[in-house]
Subunit: 161 residues, 2 copies
DNA sequence: GGCCACTTCTTGAACCTTCAATAAAAGCCC
DNA sequence: GGGCTTTTATTGAAGGTTCAAGAAGTGGCC
């Protein structure tokens, strides 16, 4: 294993810390939401995303892209949320293959009810602990990483294909 | 919802970017390892952690704490890895309740075989894109977040109990 | 129009994680 | 030692995610 392949001491330490932080954070938020809202964090993110769109509705594919999950995962999730009455499917008027996912009144009410607790959890885990400077840094870093993973070009990551 | 409850514009943007980055990253690494090593990222982390300990072995509870997962999850994971022949359970000599999880030769070989690809994926997704300064920042930020979640005291997060 | 490739969304099976319940041993206290 | 609480690890069921396959519609091309 040459130097190209491996990580420096600092990179290793950073990577480990990052893994631990994301692990603990996801766990923490999942538990908080499961207890207070009866759904995992991802499902909450779906409702939350819908609530911010005009008409509180979005095409399935667009919703999947927005929250960074596969269509398959979204299909299963929406099926469950529909069972809860928090979301409803409508046929897309312009594309007969398409479905539009719509946040119901009950879904919106659930979001209003549970948002404060969720935001408090996020705040206390992250933003109450970071300086304003660090918040800005974390935003920049996250955007760089997300950008790099958005459309991994074969030329950029040759070992992946 | 008052100002205490909500996030500022910048915090919201950071939070969203962070979610996207971690989502895409986990997905990316899981897929890479599933394809090249036949296991999810978490399982790889278990083997990797074991490989760095004296005797390549660790008590179940300690291993679970090290990689930040529940004992239950570890039990299931180890059962699967044992089925692959990558890990073996031994009785703990000093505590008859205890089990020691041991990395087998086959498990170590698998790690050696797949480590370069995994490290390359991590490197290209993260460290090749961040400046040295940002790497240091990410380490600091991650440690702050992880610390805060390690043992959430009732006094610190009153809404959680 | 007819064909073909692509897109959209869903499905079921396999696998993974969570949660609550359990068994067994250890540690404490008298 | 006997009783009690705590710790260690596992189990099975319920729910979530992934993957490959498939149904149905769209759009381009001739």
């Amino acid at each position: 294993m040459n130097a190209m392949t491996w990580l420096t001491e600092e990179e290793q330490a950073t990577w480990r810390a990052f893994l631990h932080a994301t692990m603990l954070l996801e766990d923490h938020l999942d538990r908080q939401l499961q207890r207070d809202a009866g759904m995992p964090h991802m499902y909450y993110a779906l409702l939350s995303t819908l609530s911010e769109t005009p008409g509180r509705r979005m095409r399935m594919t667009e919703l999947a892209e927005q929250v960074k999950i596969t269509r398959s995962r979204l299909s299963h999730a929406v099926a469950r949320l529909e069972g809860n009455g928090w979301v409803r499917r409508e046929n897309c008027p312009t594309d007969r293959r398409g479905q539009v996912c719509v946040l119901t009144e009950a879904g919106h009410a659930e979001l209003v009810r549970t948002a404060p607790g969720h935001v408090a959890a996020v705040r206390s885990a992250i933003f109450d602990r970071l300086t304003a400077e660090q918040t800005r840094q974390l935003g920049d870093i996250s955007r760089v990483i997300a950008e790099g993973l958005h459309q991994p070009e074969g030329a950029d990551v040759p070992w992946l294909r």
